[in-house]
């Protein structure tokens, strides 16, 4: 009964809180107020059950914390851990996933293939941001700015100088990395919070410049007719191009996974994780924190730049509207949902967040609301994400045998 009362009070509070927003709609020209009482009812019932769930989850979180301490479950492996640490288990899964990805475009229509290409682009973006946020612990809220730099470098170099896709791919990446370093140098010496806000501002600045600098970027109209990449000068029809684009992005995804995996286990990767966990201790161990942060930031930007070039090629059209804060938020949401520093998590989360709104049209209106909600709920209840990164640790095996 006490639980019932608590939920009731919470629901009442939220109904009062949301009342003017959901119940009324005022038209100040016509001087009419539209009342929407049904919304209030939904809100109340929804909040009632949600607060129940919220408290249940909080309790479970507390419980599992004490559980861990009591049982010393260090040596017990859960099913999930086994899936990712035992090669006998994860190799077949990996191969199966690879095969599905390869035959996917032959089984489904070009439309589906295009959606999948978009999803893969987000996978790579998620992995790129994962280096910055997940590994190094730097909150970058303007990631889309580097994406925009990549996309516009393809569009503009192609428009003014006629450069092709393959020559701009590295150029776009380098350009984005340069932007990252230039932005990073002043800010990375400071505490993480400043980085968040400066990157947020930077993202807006890039978009404003793209929108207002009409002579070069054509402002809000954008730049159309960007050529798709070609395969040794071969002419291709629409269907083959879609297919080709898919495989190019797919290869890029594999490349990214390999690179991020290698980075994860390298000296610099461990330095990033140390930096994320405790900056002062990390400094005391002799790691140059500014340099380490700068590398992470620059590398993250490089990936965004490259994917920007892909994006421009895939859509064959760019305008500033594709590079709003919403995009940054979505990529961040991928990292948060997937789990900080976790590669499998980022891939899974990107697929979920891109494909679900695509196939559930009714739900796409609430997309951003859900992204915001996911970020809060994940942070409160499961900060390690869907699939937590397997931490490198030294274990004293043999405890069970004795």
């Amino acid at each position: 009964m006490a639980e019932f009362k608590k939920s009731f009070i919470a629901a009442l509070w939220f109904v009062i809180l949301t009342f003017p927003f959901v119940a009324m709609k005022v038209d100040s020209f016509e001087k009419v107020v539209t009342w929407r009482w049904d919304n209030v009812l939904y809100m109340g019932v929804g909040c009632f059950f949600f607060s129940w769930l919220w408290r249940y989850l909080l309790q479970r979180k507390e419980f599992s914390k004490t559980e861990d301490k009591n049982k010393k479950s260090l040596f017990q492996q859960t099913l999930k851990d086994r899936l990712f640490s035992d090669p006998k288990v994860f190799r077949p899964v990996l191969i199966a996933a690879f095969c599905v990805a390869v035959i996917f475009p032959f089984l489904f229509s070009p439309y589906q293939t295009t959606i999948m290409t978009t999803a893969l682009i987000y996978v790579v973006l998620g992995l790129g941001l994962n280096i910055v946020v997940g590994l190094a612990g730097l909150l970058d809220l303007g990631y889309v700015a580097f994406y925009a730099v990549g996309a516009y470098s393809y569009a503009l170099f192609n428009y003014y100088y006629g450069w092709g896709f393959w020559s701009i791919l590295p150029a776009g990446a380098i350009l984005a990395a340069m932007f990252g370093v230039v932005l990073g140098v002043p800010v990375l010496r400071l505490r993480g919070d400043y980085l968040a806000i400066v990157t947020l501002g930077f993202g807006e600045i890039i978009r404003l410049i793209l929108e207002n600098w009409d002579e070069v970027t054509f402002g809000p109209q954008g730049i159309p007719n960007i050529p798709k990449p070609n395969f040794f000068g071969l002419e291709m029809d629409f269907q083959t191009t879609t297919l080709y684009m898919y495989f190019v992005v797919f290869v890029m995804t594999i490349f990214t996974i390999v690179v991020v995996r290698r980075l994860n286990n390298s000296r610099i990767g461990r330095a990033w994780i140390a930096l994320r966990e405790d900056e002062i201790a990390c400094q005391a161990m002799g790691i140059d924190t500014t340099k380490t942060k700068l590398i992470a930031f620059g590398l993250g930007a490089t990936w965004a730049g490259m994917m920007g070039v892909f994006f421009a090629a895939k859509n064959s059209f760019v305008n500033p509207h594709s590079f709003t804060f919403i995009q940054s938020a979505m990529i961040l949401c991928i990292v948060v949902l997937g789990g900080m520093g976790s590669i499998v998590g980022a891939i899974l989360a990107a697929l979920i967040l891109v494909l679900l709104p695509e196939y559930l049209r009714a739900f796409s209106e609430y997309r951003m609301l859900i992204f915001g909600g996911i970020m809060i709920i994940m942070m409160v209840f499961r900060p390690e994400g869907l699939i937590s990164n397997v931490r490198r640790k030294y274990e004293l095996h043999g405890g069970e045998k004795n």
């Binding site: 003017p20 909150l139 951003m368």
Partner: protein, 300 residues
């Protein structure tokens, strides 16, 4: 000369608004060491509540003065309630989490609130009634200053003084200062930290709500996105003056307001926001602690 004066007073108006919002950032930062990204959204919520309440009362045919008073009070109360709830939902469970977690949940809260208002109300700009009447004694000077601008400046000054006295002389102010110095020690000495943090959020959010309704009635239109840019700029103001310091927020707000006002007046109005962020980056390079802030190194 008139143009200069206009820009000067325009800058002062902007500065007062930024200061009003920046106070919330600075207070929360002082107490929790956290950037409350959702603060700009609280400002937007205040503006919307003002719009809805004043619209409702206009339809019901209440006298103008009552509408202004009730709408303002409602905006502040609702903003305060939202601030309180935001803290309870998104920050309190993360009090002992790593630094990155509350930052991410704050940005999530900001996105959530924006889209909640977008879905519940409308994505278009909505006309906001002019709440502040035209004062007669300002008649000859309307090309320099509007009555709504005068009200904003006055509100800014009064709030600053009240808040300054509150922090300096009341018990809760003392508790806030104690927590910002050393939370653990304050707890040991019998300060109810949770209550003080809630109070901080309530006061800061109420000020943001006041700012929201004042600006909305000055500008004449609002949409769900206004909190984002306003929040960013107010944060810039807070950093400029030295985050954690109340006079700093006021000073930062003024400098930012004038910079923007003169830069848009004499250079170009397309890049209004670019000037503000340029200033932020510039400050962070040369004086990261802000103008009135103290340089301190983090200790273990």
């Amino acid at each position: 000369m008139d143009y200069f004066l206009e820009l000067l007073l325009g800058g002062l108006t902007r500065g007062s608004i930024y200061a009003l919002i920046a106070l919330g950032y600075t207070m929360v930062y002082g107490v929790l060491g956290l950037i409350n990204f959702a603060h700009g959204e609280v400002y937007m919520i205040g503006a919307f509540v003002g719009l809805i309440v004043s619209g409702l009362l206009t339809v019901l045919g209440w006298p103008v003065l009552a509408i202004v008073a009730i709408a303002t009070v409602c905006a502040m109360v609702y903003a305060a309630a939202y601030g309180f709830t935001i803290e309870k939902v998104a920050y309190q469970p993360l009090r002992h989490a790593p630094r990155l977690s509350p930052l991410i949940s704050a940005i999530g809260m900001s996105i959530f609130l924006q889209n909640y208002v977008l879905l519940a109300q409308s994505s278009d700009f909505q006309a906001f009634p002019q709440l502040v009447p035209d004062f007669e004694f300002l008649e000859p000077y309307t090309h320099i200053i509007l009555s709504s601008e005068l009200v904003i400046i006055l509100a800014g000054v009064v709030t600053l003084i009240v808040l300054f006295l509150l922090i300096k002389f009341t018990k809760i102010g003392k508790a806030m200062r104690a927590i910002s110095q050393d939370r653990q020690m304050a707890m040991l000495l019998g300060v109810n930290v949770d209550n003080v943090i809630s109070a901080t959020f309530i006061i800061g959010s109420a000020l943001a709500g006041l700012g929201g309704i004042l600006v909305a009635s000055h500008v004449g239109q609002i949409n769900f996105y206004i909190g984002f840019i306003a929040g960013l700029k107010a944060f810039t103001a807070a950093v400029l003056g030295g985050i954690g310091s109340i006079p700093g927020a006021a000073l930062g707000g003024l400098i930012l307001g004038w910079t923007e006002s003169f830069a848009t007046g004499y250079v170009s109005s397309d890049y209004e926001d670019v000037f503000a962020f340029g200033l932020l980056v510039f400050i962070l390079i040369f004086r990261p602690a802000g103008i009135l802030g103290k340089v301190s190194s983090e200790k273990v």
